[in-house]
């Protein structure tokens, strides 16, 4: 027996099926990419109580705008940038309403308190540093370093040149390193 049939179906095929009205294709796309979208949003500062809604909204926006998906980037990369834009808009609204609350990190119950403390502090510090980066720098850095995407794919998703993506990445690394060492 080979791999499950769904694993063999490429995103592009699911997208084509969805465009013909196949709901199950949409559901499959959601199952495949929910974790990555949620992780990408959390690392950019999405609060836990908004996370479900943000992820749903990112998929809704993606499906509604599927006609505009050019295929230059992967569906996941495109989805991540949609989620990122959505988060940015929400953060702006939250700021206007002065409802911003930093979500306290939930400690891993199985973690060693002594060993984890340093890592948690570093993560906290990096989270702050990411928040201080210019938006394109942050997105390029996370798409490259967290998601492991190629520059070509990042450039296509963000509508910038590959060279610009490299420059943003290196600037981000330089600034984050300086921030962590300051």
């Amino acid at each position: 027996m080979g791999a499950p049939a769904t694993a063999e179906v490429r995103d592009s095929e699911l997208i084509a099926r969805f465009q013909k009205g196949d709901e199950q294709a949409a559901a499959e796309l959601v199952h495949r990419h929910t974790a990555a979208v949620a992780r990408f949003l959390v690392i950019q500062g999405a609060p836990d109580d908004e996370l479900d809604d943000l992820v749903q909204e990112a998929f809704i926006k993606a499906f509604r705008g599927i006609g505009g998906f050019r295929g230059g980037a992967s569906f996941r990369t495109w989805l991540l940038t949609i989620g990122s834009n959505l988060l940015k808009d929400r953060q702006r609204q939250w700021k206007r309403r002065q409802m911003v609350e930093l979500t306290p990190d939930v400690a891993d119950p199985g973690a060693d308190p002594g060993g984890e403390a340093e890592a948690a502090a570093a993560a906290e510090r990096l989270g702050e540093g990411l928040g201080r980066l210019a938006r394109l720098q942050r997105e390029v850095f996370l798409l490259r370093a967290q998601q492991g995407l190629a520059y070509g794919s990042i450039a296509s998703a963000l509508d910038i040149s590959e060279g610009a993506a490299r420059v943003h990445y290196h600037h981000a690394v330089k600034r984050l390193r300086a921030w962590l060492q300051s």
Binding site: Q19, E23, A26, A27, V30, H31, T34, A35, A38, R39, F40, L41, V42, I43, D48, L51, D52, V55, Q56, F59, I60, F63, R64, G65, I66, G67, G68, D105, V106, D108, A119, A120, A122, A123, R125, L126, G127, R144, A145, Q146, Q147, G148, Y169, V173, L176, R177, L180, Q181
Partner: protein, 162 residues
């Protein structure tokens, strides 16, 4: 972390460790999002508000075509009017009511200044009617019988007065 970074992109400490810790934390929190629940909500929303596949909007093209047609008509009309009617200045001159004859005017009561003005007006009117430049002088041959009589009568009166 799914990063497949080449040597030049490889992150060094302390950034690499901090990113690893941050990513682990994000992964734990992201795990709270249930993909099945998200899929159910997304499908429900899609059923309630069906997806409209984005295509170039036809009304946009129609509006552009109408605007282009109106622009062509306006510009073409202006050019045609200019070619057929001529420049605005000459058109106005042709349209103005111009007295081309002093016939019927009673000039018995006019004085010398008024007569000079009358002759000048006759001169200008003729020039305009014939499309020629206004003459600086009016010759006796140019006057009508009535004008000539008026002129002579005025001269006689003036001589008499002197």
């Amino acid at each position: 972390m799914a990063a497949e970074l080449n040597e030049s992109d490889e992150l060094r400490e302390p950034l690499a460790g901090a990113l690893k810790a941050l990513d682990e934390r994000a992964t734990r929190r992201a795990a709270a999002v249930d993909a099945a629940r998200v899929a159910a909500h997304v499908l429900q929303r899609l059923r309630e508000e069906p997806v409209i596949v984005m295509r170039p909007r036809p009304w946009n093209l129609t509006a552009l075509r109408v605007a282009a047609a109106v622009a062509v008509l306006v510009i073409g009309g202006a050019v045609a009017q200019r070619l057929l009617v001529g420049p605005r200045g000459s058109g106005m001159a042709m349209g103005l009511p111009v007295v081309t004859s002093a016939e019927g005017l009673v000039v018995d009561s006019t004085d010398a200044t008024q007569e000079t003005a009358l002759l000048a007006a006759v001169d200008d009117a003729r020039a305009a009617a014939h499309g020629a430049l206004p003459a600086t002088t009016v010759l006796v041959e140019d006057l009508t019988e009535q004008e000539l009589q008026t002129l002579l009568s005025t001269m006689e009166n003036r001589d008499g007065a002197l």
